[in-house]
């Protein structure tokens, strides 16, 4: 009894060492592993990954296209998001109103609807029949206001006082951007930018509706041929997680290392 109360009185009670943390994570992983095993074992066909082995190359190509589409969407929406940030902070009332309305429209639109509209409605109006191009563009446009938002919050986080200090010491406009503003904005921007990248990767799976041969499309096609749904979709899930989880861990690490 005495020992227990001594334990309770310790100031760092509840804080466990790294090994205890590792054990907790291992336990949680074991729970999820057991759940996965249960799900697999309950299927009426034995689980056999070798049945989908012949499709490995197609799946790898699909994975490559998923990454390609995501990187294009990341770069495109970052650039466009910055342009929209400039518009939204411009002195023109029209430009500000334009970005406001645009943001509201996009925030209210499901990504799948956006992709279909771009490919089947807006594309033809501009004389393009390339649905995959329009789908890709839809992903870029869908992410743009989210990017604008992170530019806004990152740039506004360089406080007014810092501008006062720059005034005081007589920094030139170039020096302000080069040494103070941009270095801070990049550090603040990185974590939400990488979160958005993760959103893009997940969202890119919807491009399969336009027969874009991404990871989702290739595996769904394979399961239609082989009826190996369990193996196929579990592999698909695993591959998405294989990209997104390290990405989110990297984001956390960067935030810890660089965060201001």
């Amino acid at each position: 009894m005495g020992q227990i109360s001594q334990e309770l009185l310790k100031p760092d009670r509840g804080r466990r060492g790294p090994s205890a943390t590792a054990v907790s994570y291992l336990l949680v992983l074991a729970v999820f592993g057991a759940l996965a095993w249960f799900v697999v074992a309950r299927q009426n066909r034995p689980f056999d990954m070798s049945t989908i082995a012949p499709y490995a190359l197609n799946i790898a190509e699909g994975l490559g296209l998923t990454i390609r589409a995501s990187v294009i969407a990341l770069v495109g929406s970052t650039v466009l998001g910055f342009v929209f940030y400039l518009l939204s902070s411009s002195s023109s009332k029209f430009c500000r109103a334009f970005t406001d309305v645009f943001t509201e429209i996009i925030y209210g639109t499901p990504l799948l609807v956006m992709i279909m509209l771009m490919a089947f409605v807006i594309g033809p109006a501009f004389g393009t029949t390339s649905r995959q191009f329009m789908g890709q563009l839809g992903l870029v446009i869908y992410m743009t206001p989210y990017m604008t938002n992170i530019f806004k919050s990152a740039i506004s986080s360089v406080g007014q006082e810092q501008y006062m200090v720059m005034d005081l010491f007589g920094f030139t406009p170039f020096q302000r951007y080069r040494y103070i503003i941009i270095p801070q904005v990049i550090r603040i921007l990185m974590p939400p930018l990488m979160n958005n990248f993760s959103l893009i990767i997940k969202g890119s799976a919807l491009l399969n509706v336009l027969s874009y041969r991404d990871l989702f499309y290739e595996i769904a096609l394979m399961t239609n041929n082989t009826f190996r749904f369990v193996e196929g979709f579990l592999l698909m899930w695993g591959l998405y997680l294989l990209i997104t989880i390290p990405l989110s861990q990297l984001t956390k690490w960067i935030d810890r290392k660089w965060g201001l």
Partner: protein
């Protein structure tokens, strides 16, 4: 330090300074006190050149405070440290010396270390502002203000964001700076500090100078306003 203020008025939405006149010579440290909203911070900012007065002239050591040349020759310490958060304490100083004063890298580094050591931060130079205490960060910002070798250093309630222990730590460090021979003008609510550091005290009241004189006026106020102010000192 020579201070010459003539017909100084200043307003934002409302008038905060009313036709101030002040002529002081040869004081090395001047403390400005008064309740919030009495205009003391505005007066300090105008004297430092951070803000231009609505009307009137202010000359410090015979320079007009609105001139660019004067502005580059003063140091200012804000209520919060306002260090650049992405730079180490040392870089916060060397960047300014290298980029805005054209100093060489090595010289800037020596200068930064010299002033950080003067403020007892010799072992913290490579830390980021977020990794030091509020008192250490404020001392680093004082070192930064000193590093450009200013003719006058202005301190605007430098400890109002700090707890009593850190306040003591920062103010003791400021007192030691007397040995640098620099001139100081400061706003503070810490009366013990005003008493021991100021050679001359200006009490602001409603945008006017309520009373001024040596620190002994704090103990023997001649105006009811200052008496009232001092009675409310905790």
């Amino acid at each position: 330090m020579k201070i010459d203020i003539q017909n100084l008025s200043h307003s934002y939405d409302i008038q905060v300074l009313h036709d101030l006149n002040l002529n002081l010579e040869s004081y090395k440290s001047i403390g400005i006190i008064g309740v919030s909203g009495s205009g003391k911070s505005t007066m300090l900012r105008i004297m430092s050149g951070l803000e231009s007065p609505t009307s009137g002239t202010v000359r410090i050591n015979d320079s007009d405070v609105t001139s660019e040349e004067y502005r580059r020759s003063v140091g200012f310490v804000f209520q919060s440290h306002n260090l650049f958060p992405h730079l180490t304490l040392e870089k916060n100083i060397t960047l300014i010396l290298e980029k805005t004063r054209g100093m060489g890298k090595k010289e800037a580094q020596e200068q930064a270390c010299k002033y950080l050591e003067l403020l007892h931060l010799g072992d913290q130079v490579h830390k980021l502002p977020k990794n030091v205490s509020g008192g250490q960060a404020q001392r680093a910002s004082i070192a930064r203000a000193l590093s450009i070798d200013p003719q006058v250093i202005f301190l605007d309630e430098p400890t109002s964001a700090l707890d009593p222990v850190l306040t003591y730590e920062v103010l003791s460090a400021v007192k030691e700076l007397r040995s640098t021979g620099k001139a100081f003008v400061f706003v503070s609510h810490v009366m013990s500090f005003v008493r021991s550091f100021a050679e001359y005290v200006i009490f602001m009241h409603d945008g006017r100078i309520g009373e001024m004189g040596p620190p002994s006026i704090l103990d023997n106020p001649s105006t009811p306003e200052l008496r009232d102010f001092m009675e409310k000192e905790p």
